[in-house]
Amino acid sequence: MQYQYTAEQQEFRDSLRRFVSDHYDYERHRQRLAKGEHFDAGLWQQWAELGVLGLALDEEYGGLGSGLDDMMAVAEELGRGLVPEPVVPVVAAARLLASIASPAQAEALLPSLVGGELRLSLAWEESASRGNPLVVQTRVKDGALYGKKCAVLGAGEAQQWLVSARNEQGELLLLLLAAQPAGLRRYVMADGRAAGDIQFDGVPVDDSAVLCRGDAAERALRQSVSESLLLMAAESLGCIDSLLSVSGEYLVTRKQFGMPLAAFQALQHRFADMFIAGEKLRSLLWAAFQQQGREGFHRAAAQLKVQLAESGRYVGQQAVQLHGGIGMTDELNVGAYFKRLTLMELMAGQRDDHLAGLALAS
């Protein structure tokens, strides 16, 4: 039963933490976002050099061959540093690609993903999918693609898109397409990251674009989305841990009525509840991790997403509240974590969506 990172993983995480705090301090983050810089090609190259982009890919393609837990450690630090570059989405898409590509395709694509030259983005979410990647309205009809994908992280930075669609027989297809700016409506999200909605209005697709179909495609896509939920939970833990440390420090230093805020029992209890919320999420993250490769994995991932929504919302809101007026400003990182947590709550299926799915399945 694994409930924590190994010593080696911890060391790796600590080195990443230093890298992140050197390159992504909050003041710099604010300045970048104010200038609309969501993606820094130089930093992306450094992520590649650190081995992060190939962390979870096989060594024969230049990767490090590590597991999902290593990626979880990375995701935590990305959350802690509010990193806007789409590291997790690209890595997750690469893992999916690796699981379905032919040897020739793997040979052709994976090394450049590891090296940072190729960026891939997985477009699965739709307005009706509500967290279920098998609910797919996007269609291939007469050799052309129709439909709309929403909230695709890193869509604008990617050279290739992995897209889920169904054919006229209702069979699920996973397609690899060259990114096409025409159908992409890029936007900045409330937390400063870039995303996009992709509209397909008859984009031609031939058979060579289909990487995988049918049951195999369903299995691979579900696996990928569930893995992403674990990474998202790890990322939100990075945010939550930061909020706890910032808030804890604030409570002991900020004085009102001649004493530190930490002296007020109402606030002590609130802080304890925030801590509990974080620990629940951490426990369920490891519980889901243990289910990897087992039947219960998707269920555990969905349960984790429910907890992410609850813990993230609670800790984010309360951290703002405990800070009073200063918590409502752009100047302090508290609001920035709150926003990032809020977006994670809304993406890849909300609390009620996953609860409904879970109830239906059991």
Binding site: S127, R185, Q256, E331, G335, T342, D352, L355
Partner: protein, 397 residues
Amino acid sequence: MTEDRSLEAFRDEVRAFIRESATEEIREAGRKTTSVFAPFKQAMAWQRILADKGWVAPSWPQEYGGTGWSLEQRYVFAQECNRAQMPPILPQNLQMVGPAILGFGSDAQKEELLPRMLSGEDFWCQGYSEPGAGSDLAALKCRADRDGDDYILNGSKIWTTYAQHANKMFALVRTSSEGKPQQGITFLLLDMGLPGMEVRPILGLDGAPEQCEVFFSDVRVPCANRVGEENEGWTVAKYVLEFERGGSTMGAWLVPAVERLREQCEQVDELGQRRLDDPVLARRLEALEIEALAVEHTEKRVNAGLKHGQNPGPMASLLKILGTEVMQRFSELQLEVTGLRSLVYDPGALEIGAAPSDFSEDELLAMPYYMNTRAASIYAGSNEVQRSLLAKAVMAG
């Protein structure tokens, strides 16, 4: 019965007036209000229209420009303004500095300042909070030292909403450090832009400046600008808080807001589905409506008690907590309903008169509204402080 009928006639009159007098720009600003502070220019334009009609200050005494309406009429008026999504009137003029002057101002102050407050010719900002004095307001340090017929101000204020738009400020300043902290505070009126004064806007969570920091270094303010006696500003400030007894109209905002959210959920999306067909969402909307009604009827009940000479007492704290927390829950559900469509950040499209954007107002609004609404449990006496007051008042029996 006849009372009800005349109230309904009054409602019709209010509706007709709004329909005829609100400009398209003012309506747009009302829809695009992403916090409790409406866009400045249009909120003031609406204030002027109401002032011309004599409807701008329902709670003021009639001789100074009040409407003479009953509490029920005032509630109906608030309901109709909210139903039509008019921008809320900024509270600083009419609900804050106005009552201070009505209660404690000199005749000269009343004569000069009240009419300009009503019309919005002056816009006042509220200089109470300081970096070290928030919940514990009596800890404020911004000093006002006597120098002949003037006070000399040194120190700073923070969280001053819309100071960048204001031409006047009402402030609490320290004139004595003797006795209890509450005893050495004075209520002062001053012009913005005096020599030695600097205003720095602060960006909020939605990236827009709403609050400001204000710095004073040797700013000279005539003693004639004092409201009430020296060192008795706390009494003035307390009077202001009590002035709008029964003035809470949060329910008048919430009930129609929930109604609009329900309508949004009834719309058929591109796949022919209605959000309302989701039984879980439908139940949550029902629950939210009950909460909104609890706010509305508690407000009305407090009003009814006032008519019979009861004091709202701890109910004022209760209404603050209840109203703001239901408002926050509303903002949560609105965000969940808007879902993936609310992720986008496009502040330019929220500017009044902006060219139509790719995104609808609903999509653009849910997230900034959700974020800004977090402030409701912080300002005007944080909900923690209100809970302590409430418990203390009620436990004693």
